[in-house]
Structure formats: C-alpha cells, structure tokens
Symmetry: C2
Subunit: 429 residues, 2 copies
C-alpha cells in the first residue's frame, strides 16, 4: 500500500474542497491519501469552523510547525497571494516536501525560480489547478501531447470575460450591464480588473507557454488587451460578418520564435472556440500530426479546482520521482505584434459629414491597404449634444501586418471628424 | 538513453503514417524509437513501395520471422481484420513483445481474452488509436480521470454518421443524398453498414466501458439503433423544439449498474455535443466532483491515428512495466432500455382522417402518458397514390420509462391509419 501524507495550507473554499475530495477517495485499494495537517490562521471562517471543531489536532499553530512536520509528504498551497505563499513553497521544497498549488499569479511570476528550487531538491511542484480549472490541459501537455510536437495553443482561459462577452452578444447588454450582472451572479469579483483587463488570462498563458516551450516569459512580454473597451456595436458588426468576439490567449510557434498574445479576436462562428459560451473555458491544441484537439470545461469553482489538485496528488503518489522539465526551446523570440498578419476590423466613431470615406480611403491608398468590407448600420447613427450627426461604422481591411494598419491609423486618428481613436479588432489569418 | 525497437505489421495508410511520425520523433535527446522491421505481404502497394525500395532489409518474409526477431520490443498492429491479427497479437504477447493496435473491432470483441494474455505475460497491450482517433480520451481515462470517479461518458464516436446528420440538418439533404455525398468525399465507405447502423460506435463504447468499469461487455449487450431510418421531417421537428439529433454512445453508471446504449438522441442546441458538426468526434466525461469535460477532435485519418499510436509507443518507452488494469466494478448490471426514463418524441406517418388524435389520445390516457408537445407542419402534408391525404406529425410525451411508451405504441401501431410504425427519438432526462 502506497500512502501519501498531505497538509493543506489555506483552508478556504478550495482548501476545504481538497479535503472533501480526499475524504471521498479514501477507498482506493492500493493507495491512500491522508490529510495529516491544516494551516489556517482563522479557525472560525465559514469553510473551516466545523473542521476545526471536529479535528482540532490537525491544525498547526504556524507555518514553521507545518514545515517541521516530518510526516508531511506534500503541501497543498491554497492560500493565494504572493509573498507568504512564495516563502512557504520555497521552504517546503527545500525541506524535501512536494508542493501542489493553484496559485497562478505566483507561478506565472515566480515559476522560473520555484521550478528550479523544486528540481534542485528533487521534488514535485505541480500546478494543474492553476490553469483552466477542471480542464486537464497541463496534464495532457506534459505527459502526452509533448510527443506530438505541439505547434500552438489557443484558449478561452477566463470565465468572467467569456461570460460578459456572451451576454453582450446574446442579450445585447452593454459592457457595464453585463459586468454588473456577472458580479451579481458571482462570476466576477468586486474589483474585476484582473479579469476584464486580461491579466488573469495572461498569467495562465505564461504557464502554458512554459509547458510547451520550457521557457518562462514574464507576463509583460505578452501583448495584452482586455475587453472593457468593447461596445455593443462591435458585436453587431461582427455578427453581420458571421463572427463572434472572444478573448483569446494564443501561442503559436513559428520558425523564428513565437507569436504570443492575449487579445479579443473575431472568430468564425463555425470554429469551436466561437461556440464556447458563458463562463466555460476551452483550449485548442494544434499539433504537427494530429488535427486540432479542443478541451472544454468549467474553468473555476471549488470542487473542479480541488479535483485538479487531487489529480496532482495522485500523480505524486504514483510517481514519487519528479518528472523532467519540459523540453526547452533554444530561444523563444517573440514576434512583435506589428509584424503579425491579421485581418483587422476598425470601428470608427465620427462626426459625420461628406468626405470622410474619401479621406480615409486616401490614407489607406497611400499605405497600400485594401478595403475588404465596410458597413454602416442605421441604428448607429445618432444626433450629438451639439446637434451634430454621429455615426459608428466599421471597416475591415485585407490581411496585412499590424504595423501597416497602425501607421495608417496614426494619420486617421488625427482627423478632426474622429470622436475617439479607432478601435481595432483582429482575426487570425 | 532509452530505446524502443518497433516493428509495424500492416503497412497501409496507418502503418506508413506511424513510420512517418516515428521518423519525425527521432530527435528526442533522452529517448529513441527505432523502426526495425515491417511485415507487409504486398510490397508494391501505394504506401509501401518506396519504403520497400529504399529499405528492403526491414521487411520480414512472414509473421513467424517477425515474432522470432529478438530485437523487437513492440509490434504495432495495423493490419485490421480479426483472425490473423488476433493470432499475431496473441503470439507476440506470449513471446514477450508489447503490442499497440488501432483495431477496434478486434479489441471490442476479443479484448477480454487479449488483455488477459497481455497481463499474464507482463506486457502492454495499448489501443489509444482505436477510439476517437486524435482525441486522447483513453489516455485521460486511464491515467487521470479514473481518480475523479467518472460517472458517465457521452460521445459522438463516429465521424461518418455525424457528417450525414449534419448535412441532413444544415442542408436539408435526405439520408440517401447525405450518405452518397459522404461517400463521394471519402467520409463513408462503399459499404457504409458498419457506420450507419452504429456498429462502429458500439465497438468503441465497448472499449470505453472496459476502461471505466474494468468489465468487457459483448457488443450485443449494448442496445443499438443506427441513423438510416431518420428522415428530414425528424430534423425539422427537432429544430422547432430547439434540438439537434446526434448519434450518441452513452454510458452512465447508476446505483444498480449502468445505462449503456448507442442511439440517435435529441440534444438541446446549447449542449456541447449538439454543437459538434461534420465528421468531428467528441466525448464528454462526467465526474462526481469535476464538472463535465468535453474533448473534441477529428476521429480518424492517417496521421491523427498514427500520432495516437506513437503516443502509445512513448508510453511503453517511459513505462516499460504495464499499467494495472482499470479498477473493476463488481458487477455491471445493464439496465434494460425499457426501464430507462427518456423524453420520447414520436414521429407518425398516417393516412389522415378525423379522429386520429382522439384515438391516440385515448390510448395514451389509458397508459397514463401525458402529452408534452404536438406539432403538425403543413409541409408534411401530401396526397398519396390513391388520393388519400398523408401527414407526418410528431408528438412528444412527458418523461417516462421507455417500456410505457412501447406498450402504448404496440396498440397505436396496429391502427388502420398508421402507414408505418412510429419512429421514436429520445432525449436524456
């Protein structure tokens, strides 16, 4: 009988979920996972109280006591935050304990250092639960798909933003209304910055990029755009082009390096990622030999996350020797966004008067940009405060490098009729 | 450096694909897979000729020579068929060679016997490529999701039928037209029986059931209905109820055993499986703790299948000791279809005259079956050869056990106005 002694650090919604899933898994005949300790300062919290009343002997008084506990094989870190968690994980690894964490912010920022410490001490540092909750994407990447020569990954990695985008699209809600609805339903936090600005998705992409390339990028190396600048008009114009808008985290390996970004993208309705609605997450893996594989599931939630952590526990139980790090790409040069070809759709908001299309057309002509589609819908015509006519229209240009469009936009944005700078939406070509 | 010596038996589209993928994988620094032999009678075939010209020394003269080749660690069987392949696999395992196969018919029928032989001889018998081609569902099931207490699996496991159903639905093609179009495009074989009658999906479900429950069912134990009795009217009536029709292979573990069947089902348009179109495959796994996970990818094709085989090769390379068999459910009692509750939609084709609804309603009343919805569209009214009015309508009854509906149908089908027996479409409740 193999046994694994686990201590949980941080006994909130995830930590208590882990304890619950472990207790349900006690029946495996050939292997056993024991919960032997809990580190949680606030023993009166809603998730912890009954556990503390029934098993006070499980609770450590401080982290030093946990680290000194020789019977502990693995620490499950579900405290969150950076400094304390980082110190705890470092110390745990150095004292020969395996660590499992769902702390994506920490791993995205300090993964390079922490995985080195784990390797040096011959211990597992696993973080399946840090990316896309219930979807076993890390597991697949590490154990299985690496032999298939992954060429790229595209994911909807943030449930909050996907929920908001779905609501804007299906129910014609403004961004603000969709966000406050998401907050009411518990899909978005009181301070939604991390989600709507794309930071959360970017952290996850850092981790996925490491698993595919063996290289730790800093989050800032990844081009990022959130979704809070999108308007209903974007969805309506996209709809007329047969497209949905999704916040996509993308890594594509190219000959000279990689394209890597988190951007709201237009996606053909038939594509799998376009069909993902609500707070669901999805990841599409592209290989050299296999066709695309898409994995879909809920991205968050106490039990799915806890279940991912227990999967990692089972991994440690079955393979006490840590896995080798992912094969490392020699050098991961990131292609500047300006050099990447997209199909760009530009949303204009202008003070209407004759000659605007001629002016824009002239600028495009000078930059050798071809217009692919143009649409102006009557519902996006209104009279402004000073009696002027205001219209919102979109213009799609033929595939070209982003830099070319940016240069044209620099001129266009200076025109006196422009009420705000052009909003850019891209489609992968 | 770990090395693995591989012989391929059967060098057609899949076998040559395996050789191709292996040749691309030779660069792994710490492990190497060598192709050391090929068994193929017809050395002039389109896939084999150039290989034979360049490497004639790789070719065995007969299977005995292959089996005697001491350097061979693993045999990849891509011959297909039953008798020869079965004998080859049996002999290979008995002589201490691992075996990897994509032969789902063989595994579904003789898996019980062959896995026993493999276990007795301490060798791997792997068949990732036998189910859903590029989708790593077996791998996930075996290594990972078993710790999550899988409660059920639902899959679109046959690309041919899904292609036909998609075409009927989206392009209003009759079954016959959609089938011949699939044949022209190479999505269906000249003799499509195996696909359209559901046999292929059933074989795959036998294998999935083994992996989840440790029990080998015989294919005949699984209730089966194909798709060749479906008509355009079914799709139009389903559409009006917000449903798509998919051929679904389903296993659901229940307290007293399992529900297991392959049936065309009505599925809500919002459900992930309803969104799978064309020749794509998909599998949804349901766990106790994790929310549903859906995996989507191409089900067949030379390189995806070869890639799945090479994944299995890597598994053997990294874990030379065979994995333990899946945990075995004590007894797998299959719930009779009659006892399962569905929402049933009944398609009637009748010689119209006053009193039919009254007659049907009376029979339902006697059986305590409630009507949930009823629809008769004008486009399904026509004049028959003898001048009689013929209508096709559908009637959906409230959730109840299948047996109840069958008893009512026994009476209804005898009515003189019935032009053919009622066609039943089910929805999981």
């Amino acid at each position: 009988m193999t046994t694994l002694n686990v201590a949980i650090a941080g006994y909130g919604t995830i930590g208590s979920g882990v304890a619950h899933v472990i207790s349900q898994h006690g029946e495996h005949p050939d292997a056993k996972i024991n919960l032997v300790g809990i580190l949680e300062k606030d023993t009166q919290g809603v998730f912890v109280r009954s556990m503390f009343e029934q098993n006070p002997e499980l609770f450590y008084e401080n982290s030093e006591q946990l680290l000194e506990d020789k019977q502990v094989d693995v620490i499950v870190e579900t405290i969150g935050g950076k400094d304390f968690a980082r110190e705890l994980i470092t110390n745990a690894l150095q004292r020969g304990k395996h660590v499992i964490t769902a702390n994506k912010d920490l791993i995205a920022v300090h993964g390079s250092e922490l995985t080195k410490i784990a390797r040096k001490n011959g211990r597992h540092l696993l973080f399946e639960a840090a990316v896309a909750g219930a979807i076993p994407v890390l597991r697949l990447l590490k154990d299985y798909l690496q032999v298939r020569d992954i060429q790229g990954i595209q994911g909807i990695l943030n449930g909050t933003t996907n929920y908001i985008l779905s609501e804007m699209e299906s129910n014609d809600l403004s961004f603000e209304k969709a966000l406050s609805q998401a907050q009411e339903l518990g899909f978005a936090e009181a301070d939604p910055t991390n989600d709507i600005k794309g930071f959360d998705a970017r952290y996850k992409l850092v981790i996925l990029t490491y698993l595919i390339t063996g290289q730790w990028l800093t989050p800032e190396q990844i081009t990022l755009e959130g979704i809070d600048h999108l308007e209903l008009a974007d969805f309506e114009y996209a709809e007329r082009m047969g497209r949905h808008i999704k916040l996509v985290a993308n890594l594509r390996l190219i000959e000279k390096g990689a394209q890597v970004y988190v951007l709201p993208l237009m996606i053909k309705k038939d594509d799998m990622l376009a069909k993902i609605s609500g707070s669901t997450n999805a990841v599409t893996l592209s290989g050299k030999f296999s066709e695309d594989i898409t994995l879909i599931g809920k991205g968050a939630g106490s039990l799915p996350t806890a279940s991912a952590i227990v999967s990692d526990l089972n991994k440690v139980l079955r393979h006490p020797e840590p896995f080798p790090p992912p094969p490392t790409t020699e050098k991961l040069e990131i292609e500047p966004l300006e050099d990447i070809r997209f199909r760009h759709t530009l949303r204009f908001e202008v003070r209407d008067h004759p000659g605007i299309f001629g002016h824009i057309g002239g600028i495009f002509e000078r930059h050798s940009i071809n217009i692919y589609a143009l649409e102006q819908l009557p519902q996006y015509h209104r009279i402004g405060k000073e009696g002027e006519e205001i219209v919102i229209f979109t213009l799609t240009v033929q595939d070209c490098q982003e830099g070319l469009v940016l240069r044209a936009l620099k001129e266009i944005n200076q025109a006196e009729y422009m009420l705000k700078p052009v909003v850019l939406l891209r489609e992968i070509v």
